[in-house]
């Protein structure tokens, strides 16, 4: 059985890689995945990329106010999405995870509703774009405050252990997030509790303009796990199967009581930090061009080609199909219209207290 052979050692010197740049399978074990699954990964990566392009377009045309491009993170995000048990495990994502939440099954219309701030946003358009969430899918609504979701992920995992639900909490964040105190506090507590949580760093080596060398003096992010007595896995996040198998391994360990782990997936950030950023101020176009050569989609395409699972026509059809889905969802989200301004006073508390009732009346009068 394949499963028996798949096993990873923590703290490798080099990132764990299963597919090399030329698309060759270089792992010491067989992947054992059926063609549909392999192709599904490609579809999800392509959908993530096309979503990113669509979001960039919405910015260019002034239809939305903010995005945090995820191009370059697709392999990592799709790998994560498939490693967890959708709707059973919990995901604590961050703002650059649109490809991840899409692959996990968050409906496109909700994603666009959130992006455009229409009534199609199940969260009532209260947060900036790139802040998805879904109770149904156990996707904990993104909070802008970097690393503030780490202790909550630990807490949820402690709850899972306590109630023996068999769930795992998966918590993603960037390299910059590892410098925050709350990151440390949350990981440490999880380790002591042996809580079923997998912490995943999508390391794109930048926190806005701050290079990883100014972020930390540690050799890599995975090694930080040593501070907590938990395993740290250092993997190539441009390799969707490395991302998938390493995260799956970490989840299995967590699910069977071995406690938390830290997974580092090294990725590229092809775009600027966000639509509010101009990255030419701080990183050279040469550096970026070199990174763009290492497109995770291209690498995976080469792999699929070698497996006889990719051809241009199929890919084109896929592309068209996804583009149609995107456009349809966008239109549906737009149609939902603006949320009612008086909803502003809902959900502060379970019930509206007197002072908010007063304030609601004040605003209602003004709008009348």
């Amino acid at each position: 059985m394949v499963q028996e052979k798949i096993h990873f050692e923590p703290f490798s010197q080099e990132p764990i890689r299963l597919i090399d740049e030329q698309g060759h399978w270089v792992a010491p074990f067989a992947h054992g995945l059926p063609p549909e699954t392999l192709r599904r990964f490609y579809r999800d990566m392509l959908a993530a990329r096309l979503l990113d392009e669509k979001l960039v377009l919405l910015i260019r045309t002034g239809k939305t106010s903010f995005i945090a491009p995820h191009a370059g993170h697709e392999a990592a995000q799709v790998g994560i999405a498939h490693a967890l048990q959708k709707g059973h495990d919990w995901l604590f994502p961050y703002y650059r995870d649109m490809g991840l939440v899409l692959a996990l099954g968050v409906p496109l219309v909700e994603i666009f509703g959130q992006t455009l701030g229409t009534a199609a946003d199940p969260a009532k358009a209260r947060q900036m774009p790139s802040h998805p969430g879904s109770k149904k899918l156990n996707v904990f609504t993104v909070c802008s405050a970097i690393a503030s979701h780490i202790p909550p992920a630990t807490g949820a995992a402690i709850g899972m252990k306590l109630r023996r639900t068999g769930q795992v909490a998966v918590c993603t964040f960037g390299d910059g997030a590892t410098s925050e105190g709350d990151w440390h506090a949350g990981v440490n507590f999880a380790a002591v509790q042996r809580a079923p949580v997998v912490f995943i760093c999508e390391n794109n080596r930048y926190a806005i303009s701050v290079n990883i060398r100014q972020q930390t003096a540690s050799a890599n992010i995975a090694i930080k796990a040593r501070a907590y007595g938990i395993p740290g896995y250092y993997a190539d996040g441009l390799d969707v199967l490395a991302s998938y198998f390493v995260v799956r391994w970490a989840l299995e360990q967590a699910r069977t009581g071995a406690g938390p782990s830290l997974v580092e997936l090294v990725v590229h950030r092809f775009g600027a930090h966000s639509s509010a950023d101009d990255d030419s101020r701080y990183r050279s176009r040469e550096e970026l061009a070199a990174e763009r050569q290492q497109d995770p989609l291209l690498r995976y395409q080469r792999f699929l080609e070698q497996q006889g699972l990719w051809d241009a026509q199929w890919a084109n059809e896929l592309r068209l199909e996804i583009a149609k889905e995107l456009e349809a969802a966008l239109q549906e989200a737009l149609k939902a219209g603006e949320p009612n301004p008086l909803e502003m006073f809902d959900d502060v508390y379970a019930a509206c207290p007197w002072h908010l009732e007063e304030q609601r009346r004040l605003l209602a009068e003004e709008l009348a």
């Binding site: 919990w90 946003d121 199940p122 969260a123 009532k124 209260r126 947060q127 802040h131 969430g133 879904s134 109770k135 904990f140 609504t141 909070c143 802008s144 405050a145 503030s148 979701h149 780490i150 202790p151 909550p152 992920a153 630990t154 807490g155 949820a156 995992a157 402690i158 709850g159 899972m160 252990k161 306590l162 109630r163 909490a169 105190g181 709350d182 506090a185 949350g186 440490n188 507590f189 002591v192 509790q193 809902d346 959900d347 502060v348 508390y349 379970a350 207290p353 007197w354 002072h355």
Partner: protein, 324 residues
């Protein structure tokens, strides 16, 4: 009915709620084996096990943040912050996560949790075992804030807080932990969050306070009564949302308002009550509404007793009101 201190009332509330509802659990520094530094959780780890009463690492962010995750996942965590002064390393978890989770998710996720903390001065605690940070919480939409002053209220309000569907900051004036004993029902009762208590009816002036200074306020009222001045004494009990109705009714009746709090004066709860009453009862006040508060200094050990509103300071202010 058993006679209890505030500490015993807390123990009793926690025990009953843990017994009643499996989802209720405790976490904090030293809450387990040691039973908390004030012994509020004494014996509970033995009774309910280390999974439901967790001795956490020394991190308020871990405590409050984990409580958010536990609550969102379906538990009813009661977190203890060892001293209110130490909430600040964990306050982003309270402000960015707990307070805003319901709102930012459009009601999808919620954080029904309680954050208990000993608060206030008077125990020779200096800078960091004496502060009264309730204004920070009340100024943060999404949090409810209770400040208790009697064992009876403590039990009823703590139980209500645990059952509340919103995050509740539950503040316990540490100098009252063992200072007052009173009858507290051994069985179930709940008190409503958001309702003040009239501790003493009166017609001459209204004294509004909460938490620790209730002791001095009531002493002052007694002294006044000895001089035939009848102060109506209101204990807010909840400072967010505070019970405007009760305060306005009393101030409208007496025409004179004094608000007493031991937190620093600037931008305090006392300022809030005075501002609101000034806005709403402009024509009915017979004298300027006044505040007696903690001073706007860090909390000094050497002046442990003088920092807080003294009976003299309260009486002096009341006199100004009455002689206006």
């Amino acid at each position: 009915m058993p006679i209890m201190t505030m500490i015993q009332a807390i123990q009793s509330a926690l025990d009953e709620e843990m017994n009643r509802d499996e989802r209720v659990m405790l976490l904090g520094e030293d809450v387990g084996k040691r039973g908390g530094v004030f012994l509020a959780t004494e014996g509970l780890q033995e009774k309910y096990g280390p999974e439901r009463v967790i001795d956490t690492p020394l991190s308020e962010a871990a405590i409050i943040g984990a409580a958010v995750g536990l609550a969102a996942h379906g538990m009813r965590p009661v977190a203890e912050i060892q001293f209110a002064d130490y909430v600040f390393p964990g306050i982003d978890q309270l402000f960015s996560q707990a307070a805003k989770l319901r709102y930012r998710s459009g009601g999808q996720f919620t954080a029904p949790m309680v954050v208990r903390m000993p608060t206030g001065g008077g125990v020779k605690g200096g800078h960091h075992h004496s502060q009264s940070p309730e204004a920070h919480f009340a100024h943060t939409p999404g949090l409810k804030v209770v400040v208790v002053s009697t064992p009876y209220d403590t039990k009823g309000l703590l139980k209500a807080a645990i059952r509340d569907d919103d995050p509740v900051v539950f503040m316990e004036p540490k100098r009252l932990y063992r200072a007052i004993k009173e009858e507290v029902p051994a069985d179930e009762y709940l008190l409503p969050i958001g309702k003040a208590a009239i501790r003493r009816p009166g017609r001459d002036l209204t004294l509004v306070s909460y938490g620790g200074p209730m002791v001095e306020v009531q002493k002052a009222a007694e002294e006044m009564a000895a001089a035939s001045i009848e102060a109506e004494v209101i204990d807010l009990r909840t400072v967010m949302p505070w019970d405007k109705e009760t305060v306005l009714a009393s101030a409208a009746k007496t025409g004179r308002l004094l608000v007493v709090s031991e937190a620093p004066r600037t931008a305090s709860l006392a300022s809030e009550v005075v501002a609101t009453v000034s806005e709403e009862l402009f024509d009915q006040l017979l004298a300027p509404p006044l505040r007696v508060c903690g001073f706007d200094t860090p909390y000094p050990l050497a002046q442990d007793k003088l920092y807080m509103p003294t009976v003299t300071r309260i009486l002096n202010a009341a006199k100004r009101l009455l002689e206006y």
